[in-house]
Symmetry: C2
Subunit: 207 residues, 2 copies
């Protein structure tokens, strides 16, 4: 996969009450490669409030999203209502269906599951919200103990900071080892490379 493409498009979904680091951890790393182009889309262009309050600017609507190489879906408290928003879930399913790779951070996997995009896949989610996240989707195999899960073209990470480690692994796959390591070095981040490393399952009582 590292060979086929010169560059990759990443489309980041933004919604009211998205979790800041779910987006900007991955984006920070991805931005260190000149071969990755990042865009943000939402219900309508304009300012979108994070779970942490600060608002950030989305520039595209759903209809303007080309076929993404990578779709990135964050979590955040906004997911609690969106899992019941059928119009939202249908639009997410459509964009996911035309994405080469579908990724989520934290409770973003609850959105993917509710939209049907994880049917038949293994996935993980935020540990504090795991028992809620896993109620979504019919045929999702939920992994309670994982930093991230990579199953074919679906990548789902555990909570918040886990998205940074998943993104390092994704970049190794897309760009090759050395460009991915160079990005992590610029960010001065030493990634966890073992997707099964997960010290956060136990504190939240997960098996």
């Amino acid at each position: 996969m590292a060979i086929e493409h010169d560059s990759f498009t990443v489309y980041v979904l933004l919604f009211e009450e998205f979790e800041l680091l779910d987006v900007f951890g991955p984006v920070e790393l991805l931005s260190k490669s000149s071969r990755i182009d990042i865009s943000y889309f939402s219900d309508q262009p304009g300012l979108v409030a994070s779970s942490q309050g600060i608002r950030v600017e989305s520039t595209l609507r759903y209809e303007e999203v080309d076929d993404p190489d990578v779709l990135l879906v964050p979590g955040g408290s906004g997911t609690r209502s969106l899992v019941n928003d059928h119009q939202f879930l249908e639009r997410l399913a459509r964009i996911g269906a035309k994405s080469r790779i579908v990724t989520s951070v934290c409770t973003g996997s609850a959105l993917l599951a509710a939209s049907g995009l994880l049917e038949g896949y293994r996935a993980t989610s935020n540990k504090a919200a795991f028992s809620w996240a896993r109620t979504h989707g019919d045929k999702v195999t939920w992994a309670p103990r994982a930093r991230w899960v990579h199953d074919r073209n679906r990548w789902t990470s555990s909570g918040i900071a886990a998205g940074i480690d998943m993104t390092c692994a994704l970049m190794r796959e897309l760009l090759g080892d050395e460009p991915a390591e160079a990005a992590a070095r610029l960010v001065e981040y030493e990634p966890h490379r073992d997707s099964t490393w997960d010290p956060f399952a136990e504190p939240y009582g997960l098996p």
Copy 2:
């Protein structure tokens, strides 16, 4: 220090081409404590473009910043011109002087140094930009090998992701160990607790 205050105000400086994770790594962790109130200020309220392109909303001007418990100064490519902007440096010096604790992430320490806020202090900075950062300030003792440096009420971190570790340490000091660990657990982040841990000095040829 953990005892005196029920709550703490954190003021985050935003400027054109600030580095995203320098701000939102620390903010993500800080936001997990209900005892911390975060505000953003800049030259003028409105949208401020990050080094990564996406714009975020600043709501306060310099004159509206009350005496901060914590001032947070990020790095980013915008620092390259700001170190020569005397009006900016004077305003930063004034706000720093009335802050209980002055912190920076990455090349934010070049701004602090250029404004005089690190005179007589030990400090560190981004490793890729270290040789540039250390040219600022007259009597700053620059530490090339450090995840972060805490000298009295000045906290400066190494590049980008190092700000997250520094913030964990700062939260332990402000709030106590358990609230700080609880915040890191919610973020699913295992912080580096040793401020001298720094595997990034060597790849950049620093002693």
